[in-house]
Amino acid sequence: MSLLEFQGVERRFPVRRGLLDALLRREHVWLHAVRGVDLAVRPGEILGIVGESGCGKSTLARIGIGLQPADAGAVIFDGAPLNGPDPKGRLQMVFQDPYSSLNPRMTIGAQLEEVVAHYRPGLTRAERQGRVARMLDEVGLVQETAQKFPHALSGGQRQRVSIARALCPDPQVLIADEPVSALDASVQAQIINLLRRLNREKGLTIVFISHDMNVVRYLCDRVAVMYLGEVVELNDSAALFAEPRHPYTRALIGAVPDVHHPHREGLPVRGEIPDPFAVLQGCRFAPRCPLAETACHRPQSLDALASGGAVRCWKAVSGTLS
C-alpha cells in the first residue's frame, strides 16, 4: 500500500551547453534529470532520498507535489493521478532556504493566516488566528513570533516557520528538500527532532531529501539512493547502512568523514559525477566504478533482492561483488 507513488517518472530539460553550441548554432541538447523513477512512499514512513548534487532529487520532489509535470510516467496520490498541486493542500513541501521561501514584507502571522485562508475559505478571522497559533505551537515557536518579520528570526526559527506554513492545510505528505542543510548542527538537531515528532505523533508521512548520510541514517525508515537521475538502491535504512549493495552507495557511505573514526582506508571513488548530458549506454556509474567490467555496459534495471531491498547493479544482484 502506498500513499504517493512515482511510476516510471521521466523529466528532461532542453539546454544549450554554452558558447560552443551557440557559435555553432547547435540545437539544444537534452539533459535527462530524472530517468524512469519507480518509488512508492508508504503511509506514515519517513523516506529518505540521498545523492550528490544534480542527481535529480529536487526535480523529483517538485514533480512529487505537482509543481512540475513529468514528461513521461505518472505520480499517483491517494489512488488518483496527480495533475498539478493538490487543491486541498494535502501534499506540501519545505525548501532548503527558508529565507527565500518566506515573504520578507509580511509578518509571520499574516503569511500563515493567508495560507489557512486559502485552503479553508470558510473560517472566521478568529478561527484562522487560532489555527495559526496552534501551528506555531506545534513547531515550538512562541506566540510572539506571529508579529515578527522573517529577517528578525534566526535560520532555525525561519525553518520552523516554513514547516508551520506547510502544516497549515493539514497535509498527508510533507516533502522536505534539504531542510537542514543550511543550518548549523546544533540547530539542525532541533528541526530533526521536530520532524520526528510530527511523524510519530501526527502520523505525517515525510519524504526527506538530503545529501547528509548521517542525518538520513538517523531519521529515515527507508532510503532511496539516486545517481544521475536514477534510483540505484532502495532499502530499509538500517539494512542499507549496514550492508550497502550498490558500489555507489558504498562509495557514498565510505566518503562520509566520521568524528571518532578517522582515516578509514579504502580507495576513494574515481573522478566526479559526469555531466548529465553524457550519453551512457549501460550502468551510469560505470565510469567511476572500481568494479566495472565489460558486462556493465548494458542497461541496468532496479532489481529486488531476495534479502530485501532493490539494487541497480547486475553484480550486486548476482552476488558477484567482492
Partner: protein
C-alpha cells in the same frame, strides 16, 4: 618554534548597528607541517580570523584592533603595510576560499592564471611558467592536465576548480596555506578526494595548513590539532583526538552531542537551545552561558574566562568549572 603564533588577536567590523568584535582575543599556534583545524557555528569568527592573517577583507569595513600575528622569520603581520604584505601573500602564506569561482578569473584560461601567479613573483619566461603550471596541475592530480590548461573555469566541475585553486596556492611553495571551508560546496565523494589531496600535499611539501570548517568529521579526518571557536573566542584547543574524543568544554561537548551520528534512532537528538549571541554587545562573562546547561551565576560576570590547561598537556579550555559534568547524563 611555531610557524605562526597568533596572540590575543582582535578584529572588528563596523556597521550601522555598531562595532562587531568578530575576533575578540584569539590565540593559537600553528607548527611547521601541521594541519590545524578551526571549527565552530556560522558567524563565530572563523573566516574573520583567517582573513585577518593576510588582511584580506575584500573591501569590508574591517580592521585589526589589536594583538599579534607572528610569522616565523617574518615578524608581526598584524602591523604590516600593504607593500610588505604583498610579499607575504601567495609566497609565504596562500589562501583557498570556499567558492573556487570567486578565486578564479572567469575570462582567463586556467593555465594562464596559474602561470601568472608564478610570473608575479618570479622572473621566468612564459614558456617556463606554462610548464610549471602543467606540473602543478599534475601535482593536484588533475586528469589529462594538458587539455585542462586551456579550459576556462566555467568549463570545469566544482572539484576540478578547487584543484586548480589548490594548484595556485601551491605555486610559490608557501609555508602556510589557509583553507576556508575548501570542501563545503563540494559533494561528499569529491570532498573526500580533496581532503586526501591536501593531506598528501602536506606530507610531501611539509607546508602547514589552517583548515576552517563547520564539519567536525572533516577535522577528525585530516587535522592534527584544532581550535573550537564560539562568539569570537577560542573556547577549547588541543590535539584533534583530545578535543573530539575527550572534549572538556561544555560547548564542544554539546556540539558533538547534537550530531546525528552519535545517537541511536530510538533517542531524540540533543540540540543546543537558543542561538549564538550577537557580537556587537555579547553577554558578559562566558559567552556560552545563556545556552549552557551548567551555567552558574559566576559564569555570567566580568571578562570571558581565559583558556587554561585541562588535565593533559596542551589541551586547554575556557570553562570555569573544575569538573565539567557529562552533557548527556
Amino acid at each position: 618554534m611555531s610557524l605562526l603564533s597568533i596572540r590575543d588577536l582582535r578584529t572588528e567590523f563596523s556597521g550601522p548597528a555598531g562595532i562587531a568584535r568578530a575576533v575578540d582575543g584569539v590565540s593559537f599556534d600553528v607548527e611547521p607541517g601541521e594541519i590545524f583545524g578551526i571549527v565552530g557555528e556560522s558567524g563565530c569568527g572563523k573566516s574573520a580570523t583567517c582573513r585577518s592573517i593576510l588582511h584580506l577583507f575584500g573591501g569590508a569595513p574591517a580592521r585589526i584592533a589589536g594583538g599579534q600575528i607572528l610569522l616565523e622569520g617574518t615578524g608581526d603581520i598584524a602591523r604590516m603595510t600593504e607593500r610588505d604584505l604583498s610579499r607575504v601573500r601567495g609566497r609565504e602564506v596562500a589562501f583557498i576560499f570556499q567558492d573556487p569561482l570567486t578565486a578564479l578569473n572567469p575570462t582567463m584560461r586556467i593555465g594562464k592564471q596559474i602561470a601568472e601567479v608564478i610570473r608575479c613573483h618570479r622572473k621566468v619566461s612564459k614558456t617556463e611558467a606554462r610548464a610549471a603550471a602543467l606540473d602543478l596541475l599534475r601535482e593536484v592530480q588533475v586528469t589529462s592536465p594538458e587539455r585542462r590548461l586551456d579550459a576556462y573555469p566555467h568549463e570545469l566541475s566544482g572539484g576540478l576548480r578547487q584543484r586548480v585553486v589548490i594548484a595556485m596556492a601551491l605555486a610559490l611553495r608557501p609555508r602556510l596555506i589557509i583553507a576556508d571551508e575548501p570542501t563545503t560546496a563540494l559533494d561528499v565523494t569529491v570532498q573526500d578526494q580533496i581532503l586526501r589531496l591536501l593531506r598528501e600535499r602536506r606530507d610531501s611539501t611539509g607546508t602547514s595548513i589552517i583548515l576552517v570548517t563547520h564539519d567536525l568529521g572533516v577535522v577528525s579526518q585530516i587535522c592534527d590539532r584544532m581550535a573550537v571557536m564560539y562568539a569570537g573566542r577560542v573556547v577549547e584547543t588541543g590535539s584533534v583526538r583530545q578535543v573530539l574524543d575527550t572534549p572538556s568544554h561544555p560547548y564542544t561537548r554539546a556540539l558533538l552531542a547534537a550530531l546525528p551520528g552519535q545517537t541511536g534512532r530510538e533517542r531524540d537528538l540533543t540540540p543546543i537551545e537558543g542561538s549564538p549571541p550577537g557580537l556587537i554587545s555579547p553577554p558578559p562573562g562566558c559567552r556560552f552561558a545563556p545556552r549552557c546547561r551548567f551555567a552558574r551565576p559566576e559564569c555570567a560576570v566580568g571578562q570571558p574566562p581565559a583558556l587554561h590547561p585541562r588535565g593533559e598537556t596542551a589541551h586547554l579550555d575556557a570553562c570555569i568549572l573544575t569538573e565539567v559534568p557529562d552533557v548527556l547524563a
